[in-house]
Amino acid sequence: MSDTIPIIEASHFLMGFGILLMLLIGTYASRYYQVQRNLFYLLLAFFTLSFGVVIYTTDWIYFLIAWEGITIITTAMILLAERRLAAQYFLIQFVGSNILYFAIIMALGEGYSNIVPLEEPWLQMLFILGLGTKSALLGLHFWLPPVHSRAHAPVSALLSGWSVNVGFVMMLRLLPEGNNILFFIGLAMIFYGGAMAFFSTDYQVLLAYSTLSQLGYIALGIGSGTLLGQIGAVLHMVVHGIAKTTLFLGSGLWEKECNGRIIYRFERAFYRHPVNAVSTIAGFSSLMGMVFLAGFHTKNLIKHGTEDIYATGFLLYGATLITVLYAMRFLWWGILKDMVMKSVQNRREKITCTYPPSVSEHVPLIIGTALLLAFGIYPPLMYMFLQLEDPGIVILWWPTMIENILFLVVGIALLALTEGLFFPLKPVPSLNRMLGLVITISQKVSNSIFQLLFPSFQYQLLWIPLIILFLLLWTNFI
């Protein structure tokens, strides 16, 4: 067995599912964007093209073009929602891509004329830094919650479900041997993201942190450098992409239905949008790693690939617990509470749906849920798409089921004991303060340099004889 998975095979797999996700998002967006629909479709098409290039190219310049293309397209999509946010997002991504740009120049200097696995650790670090901004690695993730909490649902779905994967695809290609730092970053991300998601009160912020947590698994898989870890990472990219897309698309519906995204205010959500509720439950279950859903399998792969390294296997149990906790918490407040607590009479009350979803909005949710189920029930399907031999890891479902039930019991017990883990509302995270500070400081510095450098006109002119004197003395003494 070779040490690395053949990336070309994975490329087709990723590309195929990428296109599928774009189609789902596009279908959903046909009602969401009524005015700018064609623009959005154009952007989606360009996005598809760009990530295709990122996945397939071996040329640095084409890669960079596509990379910046993704930045610009996602910025334009965010621009549909809010201008300032788009500017902030672009600034952050641009800083990241400049690091990447620097990394590529350095790689060229080291003699890597094509995109091939890198040897030098420092170069690997540079690339992780550069790619990390778009992929929301821990430390560079700070843009993710604010952007997700304000951008439109289809855009969030695109960003969280697919755009973040692009960086990991690149890391997979550049670091087939794995990277310890990436490994630990991944581990930290799982817990940090989970914890932040657990304390969130805004649904989309919760989803954003959940994304961070799940990306931790991918980073872990890639960072481990083992075959199982990498296969798991590739599969998890897709599975998480499908799950997150479904969840975010659903969140758009919840937002319109419930006039907001505060999770305590989802009243009788199940009865209003049953399909959406089912797909949300399926999505979260997949994230939790429930049996018979796709996430179960991919997480197990990653766990198998990485458990021998340090005490990761043990830590990952904790990670699953956190995932279960935040997922259960949302499901409790958002969906289950009404089903359990309300009386039968109440339940049969006439449901008034303020925003009835259309077919075009239901179809992506149903397809997403179906895919998650299909992959979960019959995992070889994934390998079939990946065009890879089943690695032969027999993952028994019943021990996992026992684990699942255990976790669920713990989760439910915690919820019951603390009355649903109510946390006070938090402000929506925002980038304004940080970037405002950057701009103010830069202007102050610039202003003081201006005051220093531009004294009166004649002092400015004094530079001329000064430089001449300097050069003339140079001619005489050097």
């Binding site: 004649q458 002092y459 004094l462 004889p465 000064l466 001449i468 004197l469 003339l472 001619t475 005489n476």
Partner: protein, 234 residues
């Protein structure tokens, strides 16, 4: 403080410059320089006696074209800067005695300038110098007789016309050079005449004339534009 600092810096710069200039060689490092050629062959090659004129209007005539273009540009710039829709005009002049005296003198000024322009290839002088004298006429008009007199006798449109004609004459001679000698501003040997006489030296004479007209009218326009401003209060 500032003055002191400036003086110190300049003193040192001057000292360094002077020291460096000390190593200027006593003679040209090249033996076959253009300057030697000009001195030896100016009469046979151009038919002009005034070597400076020959250089300005024959050997390096393109420089002079550029230079007269610079004047043209300056005139355009100044007219642009000082142009206002209503030009104040003053009719106040100096006393009758001055007016009469200059009435006699002005034609001679004109004659002198024409002489200097036309004899540019024979004696010191040439288009620029004569042109400047031509411009003096406007100055005389404006100061002695008031600018309204200058406006009526020598209106700005006519000055522009003369200036443009001069420029085009220069350019035209250059183009005739292409036709006759094959190169721009070439000096056709057919026009050379006998060295030392007035109709000699080929294209130098018409170019001198063109430059003279241009410089004269140009400087006159500059003066006229500026004096319009200063006389505004009257």
């Amino acid at each position: 403080m500032k003055v002191f600092l400036t003086a110190i810096i300049l003193a040192f710069t001057g000292g360094a410059l002077f020291v460096n200039l000390g190593s200027i060689p006593d003679s040209f490092l090249l033996s076959h320089t253009a300057s030697r050629f000009y001195r030896e062959a100016v009469v046979t090659e151009t038919g002009a006696l005034n070597t400076v004129s020959a250089i300005l209007y024959d050997f390096r005539a393109f420089d002079s074209l550029g230079e007269s273009t610079v004047i043209f540009a300056t005139v355009s710039g100044i007219v642009l800067l000082l142009s206002r829709k209503t030009l104040p005009v003053s009719s106040a002049g100096l006393s009758l005695i001055v007016k009469r005296t200059f009435g006699i003198l002005t034609p001679f000024v004109f004659l002198l300038s024409v002489y200097i322009i036309l004899h540019g290839h024979l004696s010191p002088g040439g288009g620029f110098q004569g042109g400047v004298l031509l411009a003096v006429i406007t100055i005389i008009f404006c100061i002695i007789y008031g600018s309204s007199f200058d406006l009526s006798r020598y209106p700005p449109q006519r000055k522009t016309l003369i200036e443009t004609t001069g420029a085009l004459l220069f350019l035209g001679v250059g183009i005739i050079g292409i036709a006759l000698t094959g190169s721009f501003l070439g000096n056709p040997s057919a026009w050379r005449g006998v060295p030392g006489t007035l109709p000699s030296a080929g294209s130098i004479v018409p170019i001198n004339l063109g430059v003279g007209l241009k410089v004269g009218a140009g400087l006159a326009i500059i003066f006229y534009s500026m004096i319009q401003k200063t006389l505004k209060r009257q």
